[in-house]
Symmetry: none
Subunit: 233 residues, 4 copies
DNA sequence: GATGAATGAGTGTTCATTCAT
DNA sequence: TATGAATGAACACTCATTCAT
């Protein structure tokens, strides 16, 4: 009974999200009205407000759902990596590269003007548990794991914006990852070594039309010797 | 009398343009209403439609006026250059660099969502006359100068978009200029040499608040040996 | 089993009534949605319509429930009075004074805009049985007791509205009661005497926050000699 | 030209006000939509917002227009009174009595729920100039006439509310007027005398349907000896 | 050309009510 | 009876555009 209901709920919400996402793809998020979203989702106008508080929310929710798709794509890789430090490295690299190369994502946040409101990264819960795994395993040394997690978020945002605004180039990614690893308590040399480990390609699921995301974005972008000049400002 | 009239016309139009430009700077172009534009310009609502057919037009016109300001800034340099090939080189380089570094411009087309509708380049008339000067002077060999001009426009648009989307880096500018020169019939070596010629700085007039536009964007960005790798896609 | 069921029904209905009443107290009855009422009552939206036909009904029902509380407060007094005429007198006086002085009641009907739709008086059944008691006991002489009852209702409404609109003052209460008694067949002098009998205070139960309702509103308001001028219009 | 325009403006605004006023009379101000107001006024929806900022404003404006009608009714009387003290007395008495007896006014502020937002009194400008007249003529002694004016406003509001809530009776009017006069520097005996002066009736113009407002509300309500007991709280 | 009042379609949002489960 | 998702008409408010003067 409850299951039926909640399945219905999920279906409706998914319809709305899909509708909004498709419309954003076709036009910008301005010029999209809620009536259009609901029409395309084949529900009544009022139904929208059973799921979202206002017009803004659905775009944030779509961004979240794209993030979740990426998380699903990444999951098989993450599972295979037992070393927390390596897992953190690969996860960071994956999201960094998605943020910079995934055309669907870039189009979406540009068309919705969400550039400064939303960053692409793993969920806060997952990030925290990654850090705590590392602490438990003795690889990380960190006083306040939640605060460290939020610091990392800030760094990610900063680096993504810098690259987007062409104030830094893609070398900044590996540099940032290395910095984060050191912040987590890894020795410098280990950090460096980790950021150079290449990784097997990640297959994006079929949902994405744009084939971009070359070699899964997990191979190191650049050699270590180039790090020094990666930031222009 | 007629002059008075047409001057008044110009004043009103200039007011409207300035008003629109300022408002775009303060907010995005969405959320700007025509009533606000006219109010700030201290004319009546209806007056707007004596100068522009609809809301869209004024933003295009503002873009044009920014372009004209740049043309004015560039003009003293262009006048001093007698060689048509050199003039073309410098003009292209100037606009390319403005498109990529001038913050006012970038903000404006981003806020107005005109990124794909408008490109920054010299006026079509001037471009055409530059080409024809070159032909007359025997430096260019071109069959259909108008069509060539439009080809160049397409290349410029393509390069600017590529760099903006980070599909190419700034080296692409010199590479594109060299290609255009060769297309105009210059020998390869000459083309290469021209693109390496540095140029005196261009003072942007006081209108721009953002001081960016380092050394007027006319110095060659990179050495020729790097050209081969400038395009990533 | 059936009892269980009907008790549950009662609980749900009571929750809804309490919720509506509290919300009216906090805001006006406009701006209160059924979803808010049900939310606060911790039942589902649809449940509302198992108990009330539409939005209006619940406010009428709340008014009724307040009336019932008053009836409960009055009951111990009524029970002690054996003489039907005296019981009628006291009952009328009680409701009149509640209508005019009970702040909870006044606030409620004002906030719900029920001023002209609802009057505060005893239940029709009780009123009728009071009249018939009087007839059986030989104190009242009335042809059609039901019609008389409805006449009294009309008078009560009229007097309460008159006082509320300041077209009459509170002396009108005793005057009206006297008139009703005479209408029921009591001699003039007896009617006068009855309206002058004071009565013990009535304790309002704890539900009411406003302590107003001075001396239970049953003491005669004014001396008989003042009656003549009590109506201004 | 300008005259034509501004006459058109006035006509439209008057239509809207009349429409709103009529609708309030027919129903409460809730349940009146702007579409209804504009429909009845035979203008387009958007036109409303050329005259009022939001839905609330028009009801305030209607209240103002009723006030102005009263001012017009009173004006012929005011003009005949040369003594500033007497003019203040009569003006205060007029508005007090209108606030309490004018059925149109009372209905309007009750239906629009403006009871606590709006008070019926002369315009602030007129009040101020009345005070200053009195000062120039040597009848009033007041340090800060604007502040005094605002004090009087506060007193008027207080008295009107007190009477409306039946916390004071109509004797409070004369008592308040007398207090105000003393506050303006008149000797006690003069103040008393002024409040006892009766006045000729004021004809309300035909606009009002309700004939209430007996004898213009300017006759003193009560004898001075009753003042002491006029306030109940 | 300049004016600004008028227009009316369109927007985001609310909410009483229905109904399948 | 209880549920809560779905509904869609209604609302206040915006604004690009028109047009008589």
């Amino acid at each position: 009974m409850d299951d039926r209901e909640s399945e219905r709920r999920n279906n409706t919400k998914r319809s709305l999200l899909a509708s909004a996402r498709a419309l954003v793809e076709e036009r910008g998020s301005d010029r999209i009205s809620i009536q259009e979203i609901t029409q395309r989702a084949e529900v009544a106008t009022g139904t929208y407000y059973n799921y979202f508080d206002n017009k803004h929310q659905i775009f944030l929710a779509v961004a979240d759902s794209i993030r979740e798709e990426m998380a699903d794509d990444l999951e098989p890789i993450r599972i295979k990596i037992k070393d927390p430090a390596m897992r953190v490295t690969m996860t960071l690299r994956y999201y960094f590269n998605q943020a910079i190369t995934n055309q669907d994502w870039k189009d979406f946040i540009s068309r919705t003007r969400l550039e400064n409101e939303v960053i692409l990264s793993q969920s806060e819960e997952q990030a925290l548990s990654d850090i705590e795994d590392g602490i438990k395993g003795g690889r990380f040394r960190v006083d306040d794991s939640e605060f460290t997690r939020s610091l990392i978020t800030g760094m990610v945002r900063h680096v993504v914006c810098s690259i987007r605004d062409q104030k830094a180039d893609r070398k900044a990614i590996d540099y940032a990852i290395r910095s984060i690893l050191q912040m987590l308590g890894l020795p410098e040399l280990v950090s460096k070594a980790l950021t150079q480990t290449p990784l097997p390609p990640i297959a994006a699921s079929k949902r994405n039309k744009h084939e971009k995301t070359q070699n899964s974005g997990l191979a190191p972008v650049t050699s270590i010797s180039e790090y020094s000049s990666s930031f222009k400002t």
